[in-house]
């Protein structure tokens, strides 16, 4: 039996939602432990620059913003542990959180585990991951200097990654399954004005091919029902995210996208467990809304613990 770390609130995930929640529960003098399996900051660290976080008119480096979030939460007493939650279960009147390194027990839990990139699900995708197929342009763009690459997707993230990649690559194909982008207008304008960029509308990627590295993909124009090969060196996939909810499957209600169902105060179907950020349903996938929902969840936790007394 491993020793149990007891506290008022365990927050799972130290992205913007988790750290904003920790700031508020810390200030409410609740003993707060935040579990983070990697580095505080979460998904924002995958991008190179944030220009839509209010309060920073010049934009801010995601790493610096994450550091500020962390420092502010720690300033008010939150303890950030490098640990990965494997499961949550009821233990008398507490919630037990099973970590990789330790056990935790808390009166309330906030799940803020975020989401991870979605895969295309095409043949050879796995085989060429790290050999031409990538999910993180900021990580891998430098390997594609003067090369030909494609980005799959049509949302804000896809267009941001595509614009970033054109700083390195010679030519970029932006492959989108519909005839218009979902991304915000300002990004669309930048994409359409970029001479390195060619948009392939109504198109999907059917497979990845090559010997030891990715050499070409098969693209299908779904409107014309026409399939053609595209020679390239890199394929960047940016088609959305899947929430990290495997470890609470069966414990609480999830929606059809496996996001945690929440009430307006971020309470889940289990009393004492709240959810915030990208893992919670109906939370727009933005840093500021993640932080906002983290705060909402923290306030609900404070109310909930007060209602229990003690």
């Amino acid at each position: 039996m491993r020793p149990i770390e007891k506290c008022d609130v365990v927050i799972i995930g130290a992205g913007p939602a988790g750290l904003a929640a920790a700031l508020y529960t810390g200030r409410a003098r609740l003993k707060t432990i935040v579990l983070e399996k990697g580095l505080p900051g979460g998904q924002i660290l995958m991008t190179d620059w944030l220009e839509n976080y209010p309060g920073f008119p010049e934009g801010i480096r995601p790493f610096d913003l994450a550091e500020n979030f962390r420092r502010q939460a720690e300033k008010f007493g939150a303890i950030i542990e490098t640990d990965e939650a494997r499961g949550v279960r009821k233990e008398d009147d507490l919630w037990g959180v099973e970590g990789q390194n330790r056990e935790y027990a808390a009166r309330a839990v906030i799940i803020a585990t975020g989401a991870a990139y979605r895969k295309l699900g095409i043949p050879n995708e796995e085989r060429f991951t790290g050999k031409g197929v990538s999910y993180c342009a900021t990580c891998d763009a430098a390997f594609f200097k003067d090369k030909i690459v494609a980005v799959v997707g049509g949302g804000d993230n896809a267009l941001t990654e595509a614009i970033f990649l054109t700083r390195f690559c010679r030519k970029l194909f932006l492959i989108h399954r519909r005839d218009r982008f979902r991304a915000v207008k300002i990004l669309q304008e930048r994409v359409l004005a970029n001479p390195k960029m060619e948009v392939l509308w109504n198109s999907v990627v059917e497979s990845a091919e090559g010997e030891s590295c990715l050499e070409r993909i098969l693209v299908k124009n779904v409107r014309e029902d026409r399939t053609f090969p595209l020679q390239l060196d890199g394929l960047f996939v940016s088609i959305g995210m899947d929430p990290h909810t495997e470890f609470v499957k069966g414990l609480m209600e999830l929606n059809e996208w496996r996001e945690i169902k929440v009430k307006p105060n971020m309470a889940t179907s289990q009393a004492g467990i709240f959810a915030a950020g990208d893992v919670a349903e109906a939370c727009p996938k933005q840093v500021i809304t993640a932080a906002g929902s983290g705060v909402a969840a923290a306030l609900a936790v404070i109310d909930y613990l007060e209602s229990l007394g003690g």
Binding site: K131, C139, A142, F144, S212
Partner: protein, 108 residues
Amino acid sequence: MSADILNVSDASFDEDVLKSTLPVLVDFWAEWCMPCRMIAPTVENIAETHKEKLKVAKMNVDENMKTPSKYGIRGIPTLLLFKAGEIKETMVGVQPRDKIVEIISKHL
């Protein structure tokens, strides 16, 4: 960085990795790669918990370009497990600790 992790370069790769008597887990990373920073605590932890059976090394791909290109690395973080000078396992991207341990344990 943890004392259990060795920094390797293009120049020292042969000696430190390929000729090592212990299996070597090499973490290819760069300063600007946030997922590399995310996985770093996991790699450090593995270096600590497996130090009897495994050597853990890091290579900065900005400062060392020959080795990553020799092994066809086009994405980071990439973890390669070497045993007797040969690649036994390749893991790309942020991976949970359990999965890394499970994969490398087959060769220890």
